[in-house]
Amino acid sequence: MKKSNKPKPITENDSRQTQWRLLLVVPLSALAVGLGYAVLSLPSQAPGLSKHVAAKLETSGVSNPVTAVLLNFRGYDTLLELGVLLLALLGVWSLGAAPKRHEPPPGLVLELLSRLLVPLLILVAGYLLWAGAGAPGGAFQAGSVLATAGVLLLLAGWRLDSRFSGLPLRLALVAGLGVFLLVAVVLILLGGRLLEYPPSFAGALILLIEAAATLSIGTALAALFLGGRPEKGAHR
């Protein structure tokens, strides 16, 4: 991204600026000290929620506590958060078409690298997604790896074919939130509460949601990298 670093004209108010910057340091350092004191005066042993999590872990459908919290215990947060991601993308698209970037055609290295790495990255993403159930990992890690693959392709000058830049792309973006919400609603219709997985199905449902989420996160991050909506009929 290009920065517009136009040096500000040197004026007499620069000195005043430095003065009030110094003035600013005082309250801010006071704030820092205060917050530090607040942190230090915390109880040394955190009450935490580890015990609760551990107690309910086996009914959560996954063995990795973080994933259990993310997708099950506090799944509702995650649902809304997928909403935030989609919303951010919507916002970026609503600002207008992606700015035209005139970089030289990618060199041989990038060309090869992208060809070489992208399949690998996708593989890694898949693995992370799968591993998330039991070990650190999961949809977000997988999604971001997927996104890097996408970014790499974009850097290599590749653009999504206009045939897919319409509804298919939007479907991919919505998939995460959509599946999540669909599961939630179905569970309600089956007489449960919002996001109350039947323990026997929990694992499968979580995997399903995570898969969709991975796809959406990856696509969304890559699309955000473009900084605007894909203009019609643009491909390499």
């Binding site: 929620l49 509702y76 919303l87 600002l95 479907l171 973006l173 219709l189 007489g191 509460r193 919002l194």
Partner: protein
């Protein structure tokens, strides 16, 4: 598997008010050409669900809903009482009005992004008003903030973009302060559920720091003087329906969280802090009123009056009585309806004459009688003349001020009313001047004029159905005490 059939009584209406707008947002994003009908349908459905929730609460009293069936502290709880119900109803009424208004206002290109963004905003609002979990509240705040910013930017043009940018930075800063507070609270008491925290919380340096951070962050988002600097530009430069949304609903959301925390978590907050908030509120009332009077552009004027009206909300903190809180809540409700009507009216005027210079209004308003009527009626409520919601609010706050022996807050109230009367009549006065036909005029869709008028009527009618609303408000006694304000 439990039985598939549910009786109306145990449909989770509250959850529906969150799920529906999310679904609406996604569908209108997937099928942009159908965005408008999809959005309208969703809006209607939400209104029905809110009504359902209201009926449920009246039947069963305040209710707690454990998402995922885990329950606090492990899971996230939703909580609905009279306060949240009134906020949801306010959102539903204003939201429906704005949805109808927008049909005429946006062209196809804008509409395809307005609807999903607006649906996300609505989802964020409903989720926020129903959440009982301070971290979940953080997520809803972010959802709300990003949607609002994107909607402001929808207007395009330097003003709107700059306004949106500043709004975004402020909003993020506010959320971060709030989140740091949440962190401290969580790590001191091991829960983010408001009810549980309310039991465990006691005064300590950490808690005070957390309180300071959270209140500051929320005040920043609520634009309480002197943290209002971002509001006028953002609210005035946004598209008219969006300005209405921001002034009527979005700023109220952060105030709602502030109110909840104040009532539940920070009972030990010293009276000095309450006095400070009241003082800032008073400053906002006077400053906002004076600035509004000085404006030459209609939308800018209305935006500054929002700054003033937000000040009224904080006068209730030093009064700290059920009457006072009820008064503040009534300011909140009537201002939502009135300000929506005003921004809609301003939108119509802009749409019609292509400008909103106050001195040249006579060229416009002569041809938009319904619009100027809407503006005048809304003005009656804003300046607190009877019969209107604004009057009831003023009455309650004044009564609370005198009862608590702090009559000076009453003076602020009165002065604020006079200031707003001054600018309202300054604008309305132009409705009666002789005027020639405007040069370039564009016919305003009837729906836009009528929704503005209806919103204004709501603001007036709020003053005539007080007992009903107060009865709803007392579900679950959000303000403690034995209810029956007044």
């Amino acid at each position: 598997m439990p039985d598939v059939l549910l009786s109306i009584a145990d449909i989770p209406w509250g959850v529906m008010t969150i799920v529906l707008p999310l679904a609406g947002a996604m569908s209108s994003f997937l099928w942009p050409r159908r965005a408008l009908p999809l959005g309208l349908a969703t809006a209607l459905a939400i209104v029905i669900c809110v009504a359902g929730l209201g009926w449920q609460l009246v039947q069963q009293g305040a209710q707690r809903y454990a998402v995922g069936g885990w329950g606090a502290p492990l899971g996230i709880d939703l909580y609905a009482d009279g306060l949240s119900l009134l906020m949801l109803m306010m959102t539903a009424v204003v939201g429906l009005g704005i949805s109808i208004y927008s049909c005429g206002y946006f062209n196809l290109e804008r509409a395809r992004y307005f609807w999903p963004l607006w649906m996300f905003l609505w989802a964020a609002l409903n989720a926020l008003f129903l959440s009982a979990d301070i971290f979940n509240l953080y997520v809803t705040l972010e959802l709300l903030g990003l949607a609002a910013v994107a909607l402001v930017a929808l207007a395009g043009g330097a003003d709107a973009l700059t306004g949106a940018m500043r709004y975004l930075l402020v909003s993020l800063l506010g959320s971060l302060c709030y989140l740091l507070g949440v962190t401290l609270l969580y790590h001191s008491f091991g829960s983010v559920d408001i009810a549980i925290l309310a039991e465990r919380v006691e005064s300590s340096p950490t808690v005070w720091a957390a309180m300071g951070l959270m209140i500051t962050g929320l005040l920043l988002k609520t634009a309480l003087f002197p943290l209002h600097f971002w509001l006028p530009s953002a609210h005035a430069s946004a598209p008219a329906p969006v300005s209405a949304l921001l002034s009527a609903l979005v700023v109220k959301a952060s105030f709602y969280i502030l109110l909840r925390l104040w009532l539940e978590l920070f009972p030990f907050a010293s009276a000095a802090l309450a006095q400070l908030l009241g003082l800032l509120g008073a400053a906002a009332v006077l400053w906002g009123g004076l600035q509004a009077l000085r404006q030459t552009q209609l939308k800018m004027l209305i935006a500054y009056s929002t700054v003033a009206q937000l000040g009224y909300l904080f006068l209730a903190f030093p009064l700290a009585s059920i009457t006072g809180w009820t008064g503040a809540l009534y300011v909140l409700l009537s201002h939502a309806a009135a300000k929506t009507a005003m921004f809609m009216a301003a939108g119509n005027i802009l749409y019609f004459g292509g400008h909103d210079r106050i001195v040249d209004l006579d060229r416009v308003v002569q041809h938009l009688p319904l619009t100027i009527t809407a503006f005048a009626l809304a003005g009656i409520s804003i300046m607190g003349l009877p019969p209107s919601g604004g009057f009831i609010a003023k009455w309650l706050l004044l009564e609370a001020a005198i009862l608590s022996g702090q009559w000076w807050w009453g003076i602020v109230l009165i002065l604020g009313g006079l200031l707003s009367a001054a600018w309202v009549f300054k604008v309305v006065g132009y409705a009666f001047t002789r005027s020639e036909v405007p040069h370039e005029a564009r016919a305003v869709p009837a729906a836009m004029e009528w929704t503005a008028l209806l919103m204004a009527m709501v603001a007036i009618l709020l003053g005539l159905f007080v007992p009903w609303l107060l009865a709803l408000m007392e579900i679950g006694l959000p303000f403690g005490g034995v209810g029956s304000a007044g």
